[in-house]
Amino acid sequence: MTKKKRNVVERDSVVVKFVGDSGDGMQLSGNIFSDSAAVAGNDLATFPDFPAEIRAPQNTVPGVSGFQVHLGSKKIFTIGDLCDVIVAMNPASLKANLNWAKKGATLILDVDAFDEKSIEKAGYKSNPITDGSLNSYQVIPAPITSLTKGSLKEMDVDNKTAERSKNMFALGMLYFIFNRDLKQAISYFEIKFKKNPRLIDINTVVLKAGYAFADTIEAVESTISIPPAKMEKGKYRDINGNLATAWGLLAASEKSGRPLFLGSYPITPATDILVELAKWKSLGAKVFQAEDEIAGVCSAIGASFTGAMACTTTSGPGFSLKSEAIGLAVMTELPLIIVDVQRAGPSTGLPTKSEQSDLMQALYGRNGECPVIVIAASTPEDCFYYAFMAAKLSMEHMTPCIFLTDGTLGFGSALFKIPKMADLPPINPPLAKPNDPDYKPYRRDPETLVRQWAIPGTEGLRHRVGGLEKENIIGSVSTDPANHQLMVDLRAAKVEKVADFIPEQEIDGDKEGDLLVVSWGSTYGAVHIAVQQLKAEGKKISHAHFKYIMPLPKNTEKVLKGFKKIVVCELNSGQFVQYLKAKFPKDNYHQVNKVQGLPFTITELTEKFNQLLEEK
């Protein structure tokens, strides 16, 4: 076969998705591919697309697993609305993902898998490769399964192992198309398969075969080059939001000197935080897998009473179960970090899909007047910093802090510039001193209204806390009406005072204009890009993305003032906008909402913004 001279097309960003059956190893090829991009200096964001079922029937749409990568020579803010390249290992995965292909997208298809039975199982009436339905795409048909087996002929590899390495053939093709260095993948194999050197050889042979195949076929008309992004110098790694949250908590524990205690019960999409923290006993993390979410949060409250940095991690349904206990932490004024990795609800909802619909519950979902700090992360990497901040604020202000992320952040990955512990801010919990003659359980710092943390075992500080209302300063049980009013007011004022310790709200863009776009949480990337696009067109549009929700930054009212219209975008039916309306009543709020278990696309946002800009 003759090799073809090809053009190299330079692109500033490309979205690639690897899809196949659950067993096809798409996550692995996706991961290696994104690592190769990272090493080559591209910025990127990734997202795994797991099937809801653990073992869905083979070759069916419910069994499709995927991995999406958005890489670029510019800063990457989202995983990309639509794909430029889809690698599909069977008909079901093509069927499930074709909706997400751009017009004219490149489809790399394993033609061996498009047999009659699989085509039918996927729900196609005829073979999409030959019936013309893919004419508007650039199809690269590749006999991936047979060529994989062929490439291994001389190695005496059993059929199953050969089948399982076909993902590396597809990866090899992409390495060719994207002009990547095979060395990076091979060194990855060398680490991953250290204990089984034969697998290093097998995967290497198949990878090279895929690379060579792509080089020979006509269908690959050109190759793609994505120049390195201009990124801050430093050491980087890949991180997903759940990992970043776990590590942020570990960092806060080390910084504060308070040992980490996690009481948690598994629930998608929060489980990975529990799993990750369970690994770090060497850092002193005590991880307690409780019998249910209530025991998770209650054990954390017990641990907090003893002076631990106590956390509980969960998602919506589990968050509901914790409500009463969070009230106990509010009443006892103990630090407690509650991580809610939100998912689509109500009830069990869409467990693997993401939503921002627990905001009201975080703010108000408890009996009594029960204020807590609420903060939200915006990107996978800032889960690290905001988990750290949640712990810092909770401990320094002796009050529970709810840290909201969601499935998109939890599972989504981004590049993370590795921080140094020395550069993170200090955490100074208000520990009571042994034998302090003035110690009283509810005596407060006059400036912050924070009570002291008197740790059991400390001499001279024996005291009782509990869910019954306590007498101001003294801490005895009190049913006095005026005292209750005072304590309710004090607890609320204490949380409001946190506003003195958080940064002011930033506006991305001018402080005045026609439209202020407001958002919070994982929608950051899509909203940011949508606003940038319209700004580039000369529109008077700015963006305020909130991270601190309760209390709001002190300048929030000022931020909202400078615009003719405000539009609040969220993946719920309008919770943050209700909250803002209640705090700062105005008649120029608009909203963009979506509750489909899917993130915003940039186009749907720009359309709405344009509409609002055009309407009088």
Partner: protein, 348 residues
């Protein structure tokens, strides 16, 4: 009582403490005549004997009359929410094993709303002591039946008598893999303090069921057993190593007949003391102990004292062991190590 056997990880007081050291300045608000007063008295007496520094005791409770307990003892204490004392107590003990943790809870608190936490703390064998005030009623909410109310009892929510089969707490504890179970009446201070001391000595979850009288909503509920006129015939007080003898004239005993326990009279039908079962509270096999826990009048006496205290590893010790091992062997010693572990790359 000696305190030599007491847990070594908890620091002891350098001075001899006394009851007054544990009396709180709070007004005790239980009804006059409530059995809880006696339990409080026993705790204040036994804590100095146990001998830990007074700052190392931590009381935990749920909600109920019984759960007011922490306010009335001068220790560190946390009054929790209904049913969750065992979960809160687990957090206290696991986070700081150097505390002696005492949980005060009711039959509703631990066996109804908190049933899940109750069986799981027992299964894990977390080293805490649980004083379970069994008054067979919901006291604080004024007289509804509980999971230990005998079948047929008329209460506010069972005007025609309950139609629920009650739990036997000892059976539940052993069914949940319990390592320590004692049953005591509220009207025998010695037995109360002895059981508490034994519980303190025991490494693992120690359940003390106190038959506590609620004078208001279930008065004399335990009278058929622990009353002045009935106790000799209906209570058998166990002592480790002693034969299980009871009766006014100490002439009755328990004998194993095949796989069943029976009551026999010593001196009759050739029965001698040698035929009587000897109590082994330390037996790891709960077989006999479980049978003992289930005995009840009219056919049998009810057994009291420490029924089971078997040695098994505690959850909190195992947590500490794993952490110690991980710290010794892991390459990741601090968060900077962690952040820089695995695949990283430099952008210049």
């Amino acid at each position: 009582m000696e305190s030599d056997f007491i847990n070594k990880t908890i620091e002891r007081s350098s001075v001899q403490l006394c009851k007054a050291d544990f009396e709180s300045d709070q007004m005790v608000k239980w009804c006059p005549g409530c059995g809880s007063h006696a339990i409080l008295n026993a705790v204040e007496r036994v804590f100095p004997k146990i001998g830990y520094r007074k700052e190392n005791f931590c009381m935990v409770s749920g909600i109920g009359c019984s759960s007011r307990f922490p306010y009335y003892v001068n220790t560190y204490g946390i009054h929790g929410i209904h049913g969750r004392a065992a979960a809160i107590g687990t957090g206290v003990k696991v986070a700081n094993p150097k505390l002696s943790v005492w949980i005060a809870t009711g039959d509703g608190d631990s066996l109804a709303i908190g049933g899940n936490h109750f069986i799981h703390i027992i299964r894990r064998n977390v080293d805490v002591n649980i004083l379970l005030f069994n008054n067979q009623i919901y006291g604080l909410t004024k007289g509804q039946y509980s999971p230990t109310t005998p079948m047929g009892r008329v209460t506010k929510t069972s005007p025609m008598g309950t139609i629920e089969h009650p739990f036997n707490i000892g059976e539940l504890v052993m069914g949940a893999e319990g390592t320590f179970f004692a049953r005591v009446p509220d009207n025998n201070l010695n037995l109360l303090t002895e059981a508490m001391f034994e519980a303190a000595k025991h490494d693992g979850t120690a359940i003390i069921e106190v038959l506590q009288n609620c004078v208001i909503f279930a008065d004399k509920a335990h009278n058929d057993i622990t009353g002045k006129d009935t106790k000799d015939e209906n209570m058998l007080i166990l002592k480790n190593g002693d034969p299980m003898i009871f009766g006014k004239n100490k002439d009755k005993g328990l004998r194993l007949n095949g796989t069943k326990i029976e009551v026999v009279e010593i001196g009759k039908n050739g029965v001698t003391e040698n035929d009587i079962l000897v109590h082994d509270q330390y037996d790891q096999d709960p077989g006999i102990q479980l049978m003992l826990a289930k005995l009840a009048p009219p056919k049998f006496p009810m057994v009291f004292g420490v029924i089971r205290s078997a040695m098994f590893p505690t959850f909190d010790d195992l947590v500490e062991d794993q952490i110690k091992y991980a710290k010794e062997t892991s390459k990741i010693k601090c968060v900077d190590d962690l952040l820089n572990s695995g695949e990283t790359w430099e952008i210049k």
